[in-house]
């Protein structure tokens, strides 16, 4: 393993200061992704600033029914929180659909949002990868393996997908991240947090190196009590999504009164399905309208050599999730 220095941060301010002064340093929280990347030589930090002792482990209720989740809340604690489970089941389900119990015991809320793609070529230093080494190309294109890769929102420079399950649920819920940075604190919506790859897939978020996520805020949404995270993958556990769907649904008199939908496993970022939502609102909560709304979202999909199945799998999974939420409320 590379040599690097290690500093345990005493508070957020000094952590940000240290990171600002130290180019090439990285924050260390659960380490469940970063340490792997260091071992593989993908990340080569000169310093790790360990933030795990900062007091960011609370889950607070906000007025209006929302929750403020400290950035260091462990995945396992997040999924077990009664507040989360009753108000936002989609969040708890998303967390439990990811990784393993051991990893969830280590991984943090903030770190989960910033985990990096699992594209095999990103991990293989012998392969071309614009995300790891800008300008080298993309080995997943031109004959490479791209079964797991994006069909929406990718670019010819990178077709890797974002691996987080939690982020998909949070995208559906219009979550906001709170960030401490060199210029003080600021709030960024989850939608604005992630950049599209375009020609710079190495820059995945709008955060600067010294920016530290301190909390995630989920605004109140009573409808989210009827929500679901459906993850479809190649084995029953411990696999990244081929397609996942985070969905919130309220049906009134057989009509869709509120719908929130986001997709995972299909794009370089958690993919908010605005087109599906727009299509569905006010329509009858039926299999046909679910299908039509799903079609709208996937119409612009660009499948690659090995993932032509993804648009259809995404459509089917959207329909399955919405059907389930319809029957769950008994409103259909």
């Amino acid at each position: 393993m590379r040599q690097f220095s290690y500093v345990a941060a005493a508070d957020a301010g000094s952590a940000v200061d240290l990171m600002t002064r130290t180019p090439g340093a990285r924050y260390l929280a659960g380490g469940t992704n970063l340490v792997d990347l260091i071992r593989e030589g993908v990340e080569q930090p000169v310093m790790l600033v360990d933030v795990t002792s900062l007091p960011l482990t609370g889950i607070e209720e906000l007025t209006g029914g929302g929750l403020r989740i400290g950035a260091l809340v462990r995945n396992s604690d997040l999924a077990a929180s009664p507040l989360v489970r009753t108000r936002f089941p989609v969040v708890a389900q998303a967390v439990l659909a990811g990784a393993s119990a051991q990893i969830r015991n280590m991984a943090t809320t903030g770190g989960n949002l910033l985990q990096r793609t699992r594209c095999g070529y990103f991990y293989d230093l012998a392969a071309a990868c614009n995300k790891r080494e800008p300008g080298t190309g993309c080995a997943a294109l031109g004959g490479g393996f791209n079964r797991m890769h994006a069909v929406l929102g990718a670019s010819d420079s990178c077709i890797a997908v974002h691996p987080s399950d939690l982020a998909v649920a949070l995208a559906a819920l219009d979550a906001v991240v709170e960030v401490a940075g060199p210029d003080g604190a600021r709030r960024i919506t989850l939608a604005d947090l992630y950049r599209s790859p375009a020609d710079a897939p190495d820059r995945e978020t709008v955060l600067q190196p010294a920016d530290l996520i301190t909390a995630v805020e989920i605004p109140g949404l009573p409808e989210a009590a009827n929500s679901q995270y459906r993850k479809v993958r190649d084995r029953a556990s411990y696999a990244f999504a081929l397609v996942s769907v985070a969905a919130v649904l309220r049906v009134e008199d057989g009509q869709v009164a509120c719908v929130r939908l986001a997709l995972g496993g299909v794009a370089p970022r958690p993919w908010r399905a605005h087109l599906t939502e727009r299509e569905l609102l006010g329509r009858p909560a039926t299999e046909d309208s679910f299908r039509a709304a799903a079609e709208a979202e996937l119409a612009p999909a660009t499948p690659r050599e090995h993932n032509a199945f993804k648009p259809e799998l995404a459509r089917r999974t959207i329909v399955a999730a919405l059907r389930r939420l319809t029957t769950q409320t008994g409103a259909s």
Partner: protein, 766 residues
């Protein structure tokens, strides 16, 4: 539990321990961490090694920049082809010199600038710590001149060469005119089945610790073949084999991946030689993928012709598989098809293509695992075409003797396996129509397939000693990769000698012990048991003779066949007349007596091998010996997403005498689990442009997780095989055979979709 009395030429065994579900003798040591694996030996002055792997499949090394690595604190040596001590190249492979088959590849690692597969070790870094060695290996910069390479199996399969028949392997076989019979058959299926490359994923990566003492070498190695490791290392380093000791007390899983000697072991010994200190190297998971072979991908055509009554008229099985440019043998993809069904016309042909890749190697039922997927899927397809129950079709075509040459089956109870299984699994409740067993959003399906694996038996030298305290020590250099070998052999010995189970100690896993068999072909238990039968017979005869030296011994006037070995001694049947072993020994004043089977001398071992080969060939002419079974699978397929979950499994096995009902069940279950992985998720991604494995990790190469595996019910018929020692056939591999086909057949029944290309991922059902 066995109640059978296995007859042998010299003695009758009353099973007391044999057949019981005995806990493993090493269970406590393994669960408490006390069991020493090959990297658990604390040696003074230990150094650590790590490898850099080539990133091209074929070419030459132009330059290696080792400066940064060499300057790293803690790095002791950076070894490349430019500075490595010379090693002898591996010998040409020959069936007349079995140890020539030991190396996994013919590459003379770090003695050549030639690169022959993507992942070949090109630099060896030795350091004071694992971290420094790994860091050093990562800092190496190699420049290559690449040449065109054959790395894309889909393309190269067109260049496959038909395999010839040899003394050891069948490449082709014909009977009648299979193509004409197929064309004339009123009902037929003719389909192509494909299986991908699979990689070895034992929990313990390949690992070795090596120490030189002058020209004497001690290696702690996780291996399935101590003798091959020892003699191969002696040959490569040009030292006497007698001076090489290989210790392998525990191996953390192997499945065939540790049968050959791979780069890691050779280079650990090389590193120790260079730095003149003991060196340890455990490959990373990536290192296992890059330097150790896997299971060949296959393309198989199976065509079956039948009359409307279901009797087969034609069976054609043709396969294409790959071998490596530097090694790897043809896998017996079609072997099961030669023995399985009574077809009057048959055509069997294996073909192989040579690839610039790490050579294939044995992996649990090599050939049979992939071959049964094609054959047993095709039988299911034929049953559908005939409108016949798939079990009924199999029973209709159950042969009375070997379909090709008419050899007799040593024993074959497949009918009973299906009968027992069908009832226990609830097969009669299955409605035959595809998609007819829906439950809510789940499509339910049930499938069957036959399991079949040849029985093997190898040479095993053993000694058995009896002490004046009545303690028995068995010594044999066999292997423990997790199967419970020492436990099984202690059970056998206890019953053969009539002593308590805990009076028996079994020593294994050391080349200083009498030469044991390699752990392969599911043959280790039978091989050692055969020699134990002889050795224990000799030991009892010797003890009886010692008893008879005394005029007062109640055993005077009795012959061994009239006596029972029980209660720690020899007794006249049904009486208390007799003597315990300690009583016999006490009178003689001896502390211990020992008997041996097999000789460790050079002449003795050559004679042993010759005798053994003669018996093997004689047996092969007369008998078809195999374990078999009926696999029953129930799947649930999500009607929306195609997600497949196996909900129930039953395997009914005819594996002869079961020695340990607990560890045998674990072996069979393990085989089924591995087969489920093969059916649903396992696949090595070999980049068709570079020949580089793109998923060299457990997070991207999908072996099943617990949630993928249902309760697996395993049952035994427990009919001894009369041609095998104690009637046992071996249990290590038969469990994986037929498994993938049972899954595919159940999926067809659930969905009406026939998937002929493994793994059956959900996208194939959308």
């Amino acid at each position: 539990m066995t109640q059978t009395q296995a007859q042998t030429a010299t003695q009758r065994v009353t099973p007391i321990m044999i057949g019981r579900a005995v806990d493993r003798v090493d269970g406590l040591a393994k669960t408490t961490g006390a069991a020493p694996f090959s990297t658990d030996y604390p040696l003074p002055g230990l150094a650590y090694a790590a490898l850099t792997y080539s990133t091209i499949a074929c070419g030459r090394i132009l330059a290696i920049d080792t400066r940064t690595a060499a300057a790293l604190p803690g790095v002791l040596a950076v070894i490349t082809h430019l500075n490595a001590p010379a090693m002898k190249p591996p010998p040409r492979q020959s069936m007349l010199n079995l140890v020539s088959l030991a190396p996994g590849t013919s590459v003379n690692y770090l003695n050549t600038d030639e690169v022959l597969f993507n992942g070949q070790p090109v630099v060896l870094v030795v350091a004071e710590s694992i971290e420094a060695a790994a860091e050093g290996a990562a800092l190496i910069d190699v420049r290559y001149q690449a040449c065109p390479a054959a790395v894309d199996f889909a393309v190269e399969q067109a260049n496959a060469v038909p395999q010839k028949n040899t003394m050891a392997q069948v490449g082709s076989a014909t009977k009648g005119d299979a193509e004409a019979a197929l064309a004339a058959a009123p009902v037929s299926v003719d389909a192509i089945y494909t299986t991908p490359q699979h990689q070895h994923n034992a929990i313990e990566p390949h690992a070795a610790t090596a120490r030189w003492d002058g020209d004497r070498l001690t290696v702690y190695d996780g291996t399935q073949n101590i003798d091959w490791t020892r003699r191969h290392l002696a040959q490569r380093f040009d030292v006497p084999a007698g001076g090489v000791r290989v210790i392998s007390r525990f191996t953390g899983g192997a499945f065939g991946g540790k049968t050959m000697v791979w780069a890691g072991t050779v280079l650990t010994a090389l590193a120790a030689r260079v730095v003149q200190r003991p060196v340890r190297m455990m490959l990373t998971r990536e290192g296992v993928y890059r330097t150790v072979g896997g299971r060949t991908p296959t393309i198989q055509r199976v065509a079956l012709g039948a009359g409307r009554d279901g009797h087969l008229t034609s069976l054609i099985h043709a396969s294409i598989a790959q071998v490596g440019r530097t090694g790897g043998g043809p896998e017996q993809v079609t072997s099961v098809s030669r023995d399985m069904y009574a077809a009057p016309n048959m055509a069997i042909q294996q073909s192989n293509v040579t690839m610039d890749a790490v050579p294939n190697t044995v992996m649990r039922a090599p050939g049979e695992a992939t071959g049964t997927f094609a054959l047993e899927s095709a039988m299911d397809e034929l049953a559908v075409a005939l409108g016949m129950d798939p079990i009924e079709l199999r029973m209709l075509n159950e042969p009375l003797a070997g379909p090709l040459q008419g050899r007799a089956f040593a024993h074959r109870h497949l009918r009973e396996a299906y009968a027992v299984g069908a009832e226990a699994f609830g097969w009669p409740h299955r409605t035959p129509g595809p998609g007819s067993m829906r439950e809510g959003r789940h499509l339910v399906g049930m499938g069957v397939a036959s399991a079949w694996h040849p029985s093997w038996q190898f040479q095993a030298n053993v000694t058995v000693s009896m002490s004046a305290a009545g303690k028995v020590v068995v010594r044999c250099g066999f292997h423990e990769m997790g199967m419970g070998g020492a436990t099984a052999q202690a059970q056998i010995t206890a019953d053969l000698l009539g002593v308590p189970f805990d009076a028996v100690t079994v020593s294994y896993g050391d080349s200083e012990l009498p030469l044991g068999p390699g752990a392969g072909g599911s043959g280790q238990t039978a091989s050692v048991a055969a020699s134990l039968l002889t050795a224990c017979g000799k030991l009892k005869q010797r003890l009886l003779s010692l008893a008879k030296d005394s005029r007062t011994s109640p055993l005077r006037g009795h012959r061994l066949p009239d006596l029972q070995a029980r209660d720690g001694g020899l007794f006249v049947g049904g009486t208390t007349t007799g003597e315990t072993y300690p009583a016999i020994l006490a009178r003689t004043g001896r502390q211990t007596v020992q008997e041996a089977v097999g000789s460790g001398s050079r002449v003795g071992s050559l004679l042993g091998q010759a005798r053994f080969t003669a018996k093997f060939l004689r047996d092969k002419r007369h008998w078809i010996k195999a374990a078999c079974g009926a696999q029953f699978c129930e799947v649930r397929v999500d009607a929306d997403t195609g997600e497949i979950r196996i909900s129930r499994w039953l395997g009914v096995f005819d594996v002869g005498t079961v020695i340990n009902a607990k560890t045998a069940a674990s072996q069979l279950r393990g085989g089924i689990v591995m087969g489920i992985g093969m059916a649903l998720s396992e696949r090595t991604l070999v980049d068709p442009r570079t020949g580089r494995i793109a998923n060299p990790s457990l997070s991207e190469y999908y072996i099943p997780v617990h949630a993928d595996i249902p309760r697996i019910d395993v049952r035994y018929l427990n009919h001894p095989d009369p041609t095998m020692p104690l009637g046992l056939t071996g249990v290590g591999e038969v469990g994986i055979t037929g498994t993938a086909a049972a899954v595919a057949n159940a999926i067809y029944h659930a969905t009406g979709k026939r998937v002929r290309d493994l793994p059956i991922t959900l996208d194939k059902l959308l």
